[in-house]
Amino acid sequence: MIPGSFSYHRPASVADAVKLLSDLGEEARPLAGGHSLVPMMKLRLATPAHLIDLHGIPALKGISRSGNNLVIGAMTTQHDLLASEDVAKSMPILHEAALLIADPQVRYRGTIGGNVANGDPGNDMPALMMTLGASYRLEGTGGARDVAAADFYQGAYFTALEPGEILTSVSIPVPAAGHGYAYEKLKRKVGDYATAAAAVVLTMAGGKVATCAIGLTNVHETPLLAADAAAAVIGTSLDAATLKTAAAAAAAIMAPAADARGPVEYRKHVGGIMVTRALQRAAANAK
C-alpha cells in the first residue's frame, strides 16, 4: 500500500491547471481531496506520473447563486456542503446525502468535484445530480462547455471529461418550494459505499404526485435515472400497488455486481426497497 513515485504540481489558476494537464498528457491527473485517488494509488491501481493539485485555485471553491441555480465550485468539500445554510434550506437532499458519505475525516477532504468527476458508480453525488437535473462545467485549453449530469457518465470510471479538461463547477437548479425529497441509502457500516441507494425529488398536488425524479446509486456501472419508475408514480397517491410497480420498474434497469455486500439478486431487491422508502418519505415531507 505504498504509491509509486510521481511529480507534484500546484497551479494557481484554472488556466494553468488545464495547460499543465494538456502539456503532461495522459500521465497527469487532477488531485482534489484525494480520497478516491490516493487509495487507488496506494494499491497502484492508479499510477499517475503527475498530480495536479487543485487546492491552490481559489476560484474553484465556494457556493453561490446564479439565477435559480446553486453553483458549487468543484473544490467545495462535502463538509462545506454540510455547513452551508443555503444548501440546507433550498436543497436539503444534498445535505442529507452528503451526511451519508463516509465519515467526518473523509468529508473534510473529499470534494463535490472529485465525487462527481470520479466516475465510480459507488459515489453518492452523481445519481443525486442526475435526479436534480444538474449540469457540470468542464474547462479545457479550448474553453468551457456544460454537460448535463445525465449525459456525463459512460461507464465505470468513464465520463464525458476529455483529456486535458477539468470540472470546474456544478450547477443545480433549485427544486420547487415545498418539494419532497429523500435519499435512502443501505450500507453495512459508516464508511461503506451503498449496497443500493435511491434519490427521490418530487412535488405533490392534491395528495397526488405531480412531478418526480428518481436516481439510483451503485446498482449499475453508472449512476441511473429511473425514468419509468418515476413515470409510474405520477398522478398516484403512492398506494401499495403503485409503489410495487415503481420498485419493479427501477429494479428492471439495475445491473449491480455481486460483491461482499451481497449477490446481484439481493442488491436489486434492496434497490427496489430503497426506491419505495424514498418515495414514501419524500411524499411525507412534501408540502
Partner: protein
C-alpha cells in the same frame, strides 16, 4: 489519634489496590500520541524490507528474475528461498509441529504467500522493487473447500510431506490430512445415542475470520556483526518464546539475542507465532549488516498472517424427553490452510476444544477433530479466546438452542436443567477437564431477572403473531448464551510450547523510598497490565500502585515467561505477582519485627505496614520497611527487598457468564438492530472493575463483528476477496451496540488471589449470543440452523428461503 491521621479506608484507598477502578496509567502516553510502537523505532542506517507475494493460490514457481528490481534506485538485495537455503532457513518450524515455507520454495500454496523479500533504503524503493521482480508461475488446481481436502483425487498440496504417513500428532490418513485428535469414550457415547429418546444433529460452522489488530505485525532486526548479537524489536505477544525460537532456528546463542516488544497496538492472537517477515528481516540484517524494518500493511495482515477459526463442527446431542442431556458427539473438520501454524500448546492440536461439553453435565461425550490442508493462508490462532475455546462455546451453545427447539422448550430453561450444580465443583468433565469453581444457576437467574427475560419472550410471541397477521415486517430474536471458558494455560503437566512449560513469572524490586519496579514474562497489548499488575502488588504489600512501575517486553530484563494470550496473564502471571509479593512481604515482616523489637509472629499486616498485635500504636509502614531494607536489616539477613516467582499453576481457571442479546431483523432488507445486549461475567476476584468493563466492551464488539459479518472469504478458485476494511467488516462506534455489563463473583479456589481472567470471555460468550438471537428470530419460520456470519444479505436470504419474502 488526631484528625490528620488517615482512616483505614483512606489508607486503603490511597493504595489503589485490587477492586479499585484505577485509571489506566498507560493511557497518559497513548492518548497523547506518545506511545512507542515498533514503527516508531528508527535506527541509524535502517533499511526496509517488503514482500513480493503470489497472485496464485496454488502454483509452481518456475523462475524468479530480480535483475530489473536490483536496478531500482535504493534497492539493495532481493532475498529468495535460494538465498535462505544457504543459511538453512527456507523453511521454519511452526508451533504446531509442522514446517512452513519462509519464502516460496518451488511452489506457492496460498494467495499472497511470501515469494521474495526486497530490501531497500526506504519503504518506497522497496515497493518499487517488488513491482519489478518477475516471477514465472505455472498455476496448479487450487483446493479451497476443506470438505474436499481428503477426496481421492484432491490435488497434493504439501509435496514436502510426500511419503510421511504420520505427523506431529500421529497418523495421517491422506496427503492433505494433518492430524486426527480424539477425546472421550466412544463406546459409551455411542451407547448413549442408541438409547436416546431425543437426538439432534447439525453441522455448525464457525467461519474463517481474522484478529486484525489496529497495529499490524512488524519488526526491526538489527544484527551487530562485531558482537555477534541480534536485537529484534517486534510486535510480540510472547517475546521470550520468540527469543528461544530464533535461537533454535538461527543457531544463535540465546544470550546474544535481545527481543524487545515495545507498546503493542492489539494482538488478539495474531502476534503469538513467528512469521516469514521476522526471519527475512533478521537474515537481511545479518547479510547487510544494517538494521532492517518490516511492517505489514493491512491487506497483508488480513490475507497472510494468522487467521482464526474455520472449524466445521458436526454436532450431535442425545437427551431424554424431559430435556436432560445424556451424550455429546462432535466431529470437527478443521481447515488449517497451507501449513499447520496454529499457536496451541504442543500437545493440543485442536487446542482445548474438548471444553465443548460447556456448562452442562454430560455423562459421556466423544470428540474427533480432523485437521486438513487447503490453499489458504495458514493460522488457526486463538483470536481473543483461549485455544479453540470460542469454537467450542459456539458449538455447544448453538447445539443447546437447537435441542431446545426440538424439545419445544425454552433455551434458558433447558440450560438451567442441565447445568453443572455448585456442589459438583471441582467437576470432572466427560472430556477430561477439572472445572475449578462455578455457580451457573445464580448467574443465569440473575441474567433472566435483570433483563426481564420472561417479558421479552412474551413480547416476542406477540410480535410473531403480528408478523403472521402481516402487521409488521420485523422479527425478534432472543440469543441466550451461557459459556464456560478454560483459560490460564497452563499447568506444566499438560501445557508446553516447544517443550517449555507454560508457567509465568514476576520479579519485584522495591527501592529505598518505598517505590519499586516489577517485571513480568507477560506482554500487554492493550489489556492494561501496567495498571492492574501494580494493583495486585499494592494490595499484597501495601505500597501505593502509583509507586510501582511495571515493565514488560524486554527479554534481557524481564524474567522468562510465556507471554500474553489465551487469557493466561492474570491466571498465571497474576499468580506469580502475588507470590513474588508475598515473598517480599515475608522478608518485610522480619525487618519490621527486628525494628519494632518483637517476634515476627507478634506482627500482623495492616493495609500498608505491620502492626504489633494488641499494640496498635506500634506500627511500621512498608515505606519505612523499604528504607530499613537498605540500611538496617537484622543480623545475618542480606540487604535489599526483592523477589522472583515462577508460577506453575495447579489447574486452569474456568470463567463463565450469562449473556442475552435482543435483536430485531427487518426481513425485507436483512438489516438487524441489536436492541439490547446484557453480559454477566464471572471472572472470580475482580482486580480493576473499570478495566474488566473495558475488556468486556472490546470483546463484545469483536464478537458482534464476527457473528454479524466479519469474514475472510475465498472465492471458489482461491482468491481471497475480503482483503481490506472496505470488505472485512470492522464495525465503528456507530454500528456497535450498547452494552449492559453485570457480574457475579465465584473466586478460583486454587489461584492465590482467586482471579480467573476475563479478556476473552466476551468474545467466547458473545458470538453464540448474537448467532442464537438471529437463529431464534427465524426459528418460528421453520429453520433450525443458519450459518454465520449473519450479515444483511444472508439474513435476507434466510428470510427468502423460509418464505418470508417473495
Amino acid at each position: 489519634m488526631n484528625d490528620m491521621t488517615p482512616t483505614r479506608e483512606q489508607r486503603s484507598a490511597a493504595l489503589e489496590g485490587m477492586g479499585c477502578k484505577r485509571k489506566r496509567v498507560e493511557d497518559i502516553r497513548f492518548t497523547q500520541g506518545k506511545g512507542n510502537y515498533v514503527d516508531d523505532v528508527k535506527l541509524p542506517g535502517m533499511l526496509h524490507g517488503d514482500f513480493v507475494r503470489s497472485p496464485h493460490p496454488h502454483a509452481r514457481v518456475k523462475r524468479i528474475d530480480d535483475s530489473e528490481a536490483l536496478k531500482v534506485p535504493g534497492v539493495l538485495a532481493v532475498i529468495t528461498a535460494e538465498t535462505l537455503k544457504t543459511v538453512n532457513l527456507a523453511w521454519m518450524p511452526t508451533l504446531a509441529g509442522d514446517v512452513q515455507m519462509v519464502l516460496a520454495d518451488g511452489k506457492v500454496l496460498f494467495q499472497n504467500q511470501e515469494v521474495a523479500f526486497v530490501v531497500a533504503t526506504d519503504r518506497y524503493a522497496a515497493d518499487d522493487g517488488i513491482n519489478k521482480v518477475i516471477v514465472e508461475y505455472e498455476p496448479l488446481a487450487p483446493l479451497v473447500d476443506p470438505f474436499k481436502s481428503m477426496d481421492k483425487d484432491a490435488p497434493v498440496l504439501r509435496e514436502d510431506l510426500a511419503g510421511k504417513t504420520s505427523g506431529a500428532h500421529g497418523p495421517r490418513k491422506h496427503h492433505n490430512h494433518i492430524f486426527e485428535w480424539t477425546v472421550g469414550d466412544k463406546e459409551l457415547t455411542d451407547a448413549a445415542f442408541k438409547k436416546a429418546e431425543v437426538t439432534i444433529k447439525e453441522m455448525i460452522s464457525y467461519h474463517r475470520t481474522h484478529p486484525s489488530p489496529l497495529e499490524t505485525c512488524q519488526c526491526v532486526c538489527s544484527f551487530d556483526k562485531i558482537k555477534g548479537e541480534l536485537t529484534i524489536y517486534g510486535t510480540f505477544q510472547a517475546p521470550h518464546v520468540i527469543r528461544t525460537v530464533v535461537s533454535l532456528i538461527a543457531k544463535l546463542p540465546e544470550q546474544k539475542i535481545h527481543v524487545i516488544a515495545p507498546d503493542i497496538g492489539g494482538g488478539f492472537g495474531n502476534k503469538v507465532g513467528a512469521y516469514p517477515g521476522y526471519i527475512c528481516a533478521a537474515v537481511a540484517s545479518i547479510v547487510t549488516g544494517k538494521p532492517v524494518k518490516w511492517v505489514e500493511d493491512r491487506i497483508e495482515n488480513l490475507t497472510a498472517t494468522s487467521f482464526a477459526r474455520d472449524y466445521h463442527m458436526t454436532t450431535e446431542i442425545a437427551a431424554t424427553k424431559e430435556g436432560k442431556v445424556t451424550g455429546l458427539r462432535v466431529h470437527v473438520l478443521a481447515d488449517h490452510g497451507a501449513f499447520d501454524a496454529c499457536a496451541d500448546p504442543s500437545k493440543w492440536p485442536a487446542g482445548f476444544f474438548n471444553i465443548v461439553t460447556g456448562s452442562y453435565d454430560f455423562p459421556t461425550a466423544h470428540l474427533a477433530v480432523d485437521g486438513v490442508y487447503t490453499n489458504k493462508a495458514p493460522g488457526g490462532v486463538a483470536y481473543r479466546c483461549s485455544f479453540r475455546v470460542t469454537e467450542a462455546a459456539y458449538c455447544i451453545e448453538r447445539a443447546m438452542d437447537i435441542l431446545a427447539q426440538k424439545l419445544n422448550m425454552d433455551p434458558a430453561e433447558l440450560r438451567l436443567k442441565n447445568f453443572i450444580k455448585p456442589e459438583q465443583f471441582p467437576y470432572h468433565s466427560a472430556l477430561g477437564w477439572e472445572y475449578d469453581s462455578g455457580d451457573y444457576h445464580t448467574a443465569m437467574r440473575k441474567m433472566m431477572e435483570t433483563t426481564g427475560y420472561a417479558a421479552l419472550r412474551k413480547e416476542q410471541a406477540d410480535k410473531r403473531a403480528a408478523f403472521a397477521r402481516g402487521e409488521t415486517r420485523e422479527i425478534m430474536g432472543l440469543g441466550v448464551s451461557f459459556f464456560t471458558e478454560i483459560v490460564g494455560a497452563g499447568p506444566s503437566k499438560n501445557c508446553d510450547i516447544l517443550g517449555i512449560a507454560m508457567f509465568d513469572s514476576c520479579e519485584i524490586r522495591l527501592h529505598p523510598t518505598g517505590a519499586g519496579i516489577a517485571r513480568m514474562g507477560t506482554k500487554s497489548q492493550g489489556q492494561g497490565h501496567e495498571t492492574t499488575w501494580a494493583q495486585i502488588i499494592a494490595t499484597e504489600i501495601g505500597i501505593p500502585a502509583d509507586n510501582i512501575m511495571v515493565e514488560e517486553g524486554n527479554t534481557d530484563t524481564a524474567p522468562y515467561g510465556l507471554g500474553t494470550y489465551g487469557s493466561r496473564s492474570t491466571p498465571v502471571a497474576g499468580a506469580a505477582i502475588a507470590m513474588a509479593a508475598r515473598k517480599i512481604k515475608a522478608k518485610a515482616q522480619m525487618i519490621a519485627a527486628y525494628r519494632l523489637e518483637v517476634h515476627e509472629d507478634d506482627l500482623e499486616f495492616d493495609i500498608d505496614g505491620f502492626r504489633v498485635k494488641g499494640l496498635p500504636e506500634k506500627f511500621m509502614s512498608m515505606k519505612d520497611i523499604c528504607w530499613a531494607a537498605y540500611n538496617s536489616v537484622p543480623p545475618g539477613m542480606e540487604p535489599g527487598l526483592e523477589a522472583v516467582s515462577y508460577y506453575d499453576p495447579p489447574n486452569m481457571t474456568y470463567p463463565f457468564g450469562a449473556y442475552l442479546c435482543v435483536m430485531d431483523i427487518d426481513v425485507d432488507t436483512g438489516v438487524y438492530n441489536v436492541r439490547r445486549f446484557y453480559a454477566l461475567d464471572d471472572c472470580g476476584t475482580r482486580i480493576n472493575p473499570m478495566i474488566i468493563e473495558g475488556q468486556v466492551h472490546g470483546g463484545l464488539t469483536e464478537a458482534f463483528a464476527i457473528a454479524m459479518g466479519q469474514e475472510i472469504r475465498y472465492d471458489e478458485v482461491g482468491n481471497v476477496v475480503t482483503g481490506s476494511f472496505m470488505d472485512f467488516f470492522m464495525p465503528t462506534a456507530v454500528e456497535t451496540p450498547h452494552w449492559e455489563t453485570d457480574f457475579t463473583v465465584t473466586p478460583s479456589p486454587h489461584h492465590p488471589i482467586g482471579a480467573k481472567g476475563v479478556g476473552e470471555s466476551p468474545n467466547v460468550g458473545g458470538v453464540p449470543a448474537f448467532s442464537n438471537a438471529v437463529n431464534d428470530a427465524f426459528s418460528f419460520l421453520g429453520s433450525t440452523h443458519i450459518q454465520m456470519p449473519h450479515d444483511f444479505w444472508r439474513n435476507w436470504k434466510a428470510a427468502k428461503q423460509l418464505g418470508a419474502v417473495a
